[in-house]
């Protein structure tokens, strides 16, 4: 063989270690920007509070005052919910794109969001909902539970199609698109039949908003994120191998059907909860993984947390914009996610092109 002078073992080792260090630095950077965004989100809003006032409230020095109510009941829950929703959708989209081997996969494009919006509309418009055995749960929770059940149902349907005689991933995508249109049509039908009041409520679902965030909901979604992220990291190597092609991964000893099923389970938990609490939010689940991939590469040890962080960042920035775009008016965050996210997306895509 012709020997082309390549890097020797130690040099390659150094370069690989440097690559991994760079990934860690980028992740730390993302966390820092996310925290900054969170603080900005906290300090801006229709009620003009100074930053020092907010800090005082957070430190517990202002009980029951109007500033305290604004911070604890409005600012903080909205800001936290925005980040958690974005993280859940970002990570869900990341795993979906890997297991379905399709850059267009996301909870929104494959019908999980549409299904849960339909579940919510059923509860809101017709009062029809899955039996909830816990009597103290209020009406809002019943809607959320309904949305959750429908999202899980859609995810299971997708999995069924994926495993049915080993359908190609293209089939799964087409099936998902069929789900989107079916559920959107059904939601439109319910909207047509709905009363004025129910229609108002439906708008929340179809546009997506974090303004219904409450601490119990935040706890549920927070716990889900805290459990699911470490869980997904356990299959990081297997998922990375899946990026090299399904056959290749299988021959490397990856139990592809099992990895796919567990990933889909995680996706449905995250996407269903996010959508159940914040309505249908497009774009984040689709684009956050692409940005993370550009920034961090394909190694899922970095890509999965990266997608969650980018998702959180987009939603946090969207939440800031939603509150401040129209003075005195809080827009549904779902409306502005795309407007805020597109610049992020274009910058990473174009920057990457120039480097390579």
């Amino acid at each position: 063989m012709i020997r082309v002078s390549g890097p020797d073992g130690s040099e390659a080792r150094r370069t690989y270690a440097a690559l991994n260090r760079r990934r860690i630095r980028i992740i730390i950077g993302l966390v820092a920007v996310l925290i900054a965004c969170f603080l900005v989100d906290l300090s801006l809003g229709p009620a003009h509070l100074s930053f020092s006032e907010i800090v005082r409230v957070l430190l517990g020095n202002d009980h029951g005052g109007p500033a305290s109510v604004v911070v604890w009941k409005l600012r903080l829950p909205f800001a936290v919910m925005a980040i958690l929703t974005g993280m859940a959708l970002g990570q869900a989209g990341a795993e979906m794109q890997t297991i379905l081997d399709n850059p267009l996969a996301s909870p929104f494009t494959l019908g999980l969001s549409a299904a849960s919006a339909f579940g919510a509309s059923l509860a809101i418009v017709l009062g029809w909902h899955v039996p909830v055995p816990i009597p103290w749960l209020g009406g809002e929770w019943i809607v959320a539970v309904n949305a959750f059940v429908f999202a899980i149902g859609a995810a299971l349907l997708l999995d069924l199609v994926a495993r049915w005689r080993g359908a190609a991933t293209g089939t799964v995508i087409l099936f998902g698109i069929a789900l989107v249109f079916t559920f959107q049509a059904l939601v439109a039908l319910l909207q047509f039949l709905a009363t004025e009041d129910a229609l108002q409520e439906l708008v929340f679902w179809t546009m997506g908003s974090v303004t219904r965030a409450t601490w119990p909901k935040i706890t549920v979604l927070g716990v889900a994120c805290a459990v699911v992220l470490p869980w997904s990291l356990r299959s990081a190597w297997a998922l990375t191998a899946l990026r090299m092609g399904e056959d290749r991964a299988a021959s490397l000893g990856v139990d592809v059907p099992r990895v796919r099923l567990t990933a889909l389970l995680r996706v449905s938990i995250l996407a269903a909860l996010a959508v159940a609490f914040s309505g249908t939010i497009a774009f984040v689940g689709l684009v956050a993984p692409h940005i993370a991939r550009r920034l961090l590469g394909e190694d899922h040890r970095a890509y999965l947390p990266g997608s969650a962080l980018v998702g959180g960042l987009i939603m946090s920035a969207a939440s800031i914009t939603a509150k401040n775009l129209v003075p005195g008016e809080v827009l549904p965050v779902g409306i502005v996610t795309a407007l805020v996210g597109i610049p992020f997306f274009l910058v990473t895509v174009l920057r990457h092109r120039r480097i390579s």
């Binding site: 890097p7 073992g9 370069t15 690989y16 090299m244 021959s251 000893g253």
Partner: protein, 279 residues
Amino acid sequence: MMALQAGPLTGRRGRRIVLDSIEIGPLEGGTITSLLGPNGSGKTTLLRALAGLFPVQGPMWLGPHDLGGMRAPERANYCAYMPQTLPPPIHMQALETILVSMRASGAHPDEQAFDTAIDTLERLGIADLSLRFLDELSGGQRQLVGLAQVLARSPALLLLDEPLSALDLRHQFEVMAVLRRETEARGMVTVMVMHDLGMALRRTDSAVMLAEGRVIGAGAVENVVTPTILARAFGIRARVERSAEGDSLVLVDGVSNISEERAAMDNQSDHYRSAPSSS
């Protein structure tokens, strides 16, 4: 050294039988076997069946190990399979993909893994590609990286689906030389799907000729790549000649028409029966 012995294997796709009582082996460790046959004859399916990726009925043994009874992750400890499709052009360094391929089955991090990966790249002569990203490599270079991915796993059974398809002539011979060295040094059983009959004749030890899901010739490669078997498998008129340097060459004179082929088959049917046992 372990030998591969498989079959009779029968596999179906829907109702259609795509592998029909195929018997293979024993293929000894340290030898290279080419899997030959026309398009759609079941070569890839057979290779995937051996890798445990296509369900078949029938026994498969690698030495004392019952491959057929293993689930895919366990089987990956013994087999390495390289699909016909090239590794996709993803934004990942060649070295990374090799590390992933060594760790995907959940193996524990190994200090040696890194050295093995570098060493494999060096032996394939592509150490200079180790830090390049797959999305900036050519098809042939990606094929070499794919080969490094499977070789780095040090399998006992190496299954390659057209590993030379994207390579230039020089690399084809170099890769065959590397495969020869590795196969002999490690006592591997190497089975590869090939289209280049001349390469099969000159660089592999034994051959299996498939047609319509059946074995129509098996044994030492020079007993399989013969005018009669080629006529039957491909429907071509071909000769096997020796070059001035003593290498075997396959010369194709043209396409045989069906009736001629049938007549040849009838006349030579005794020969077909003897061909598989001639090894």
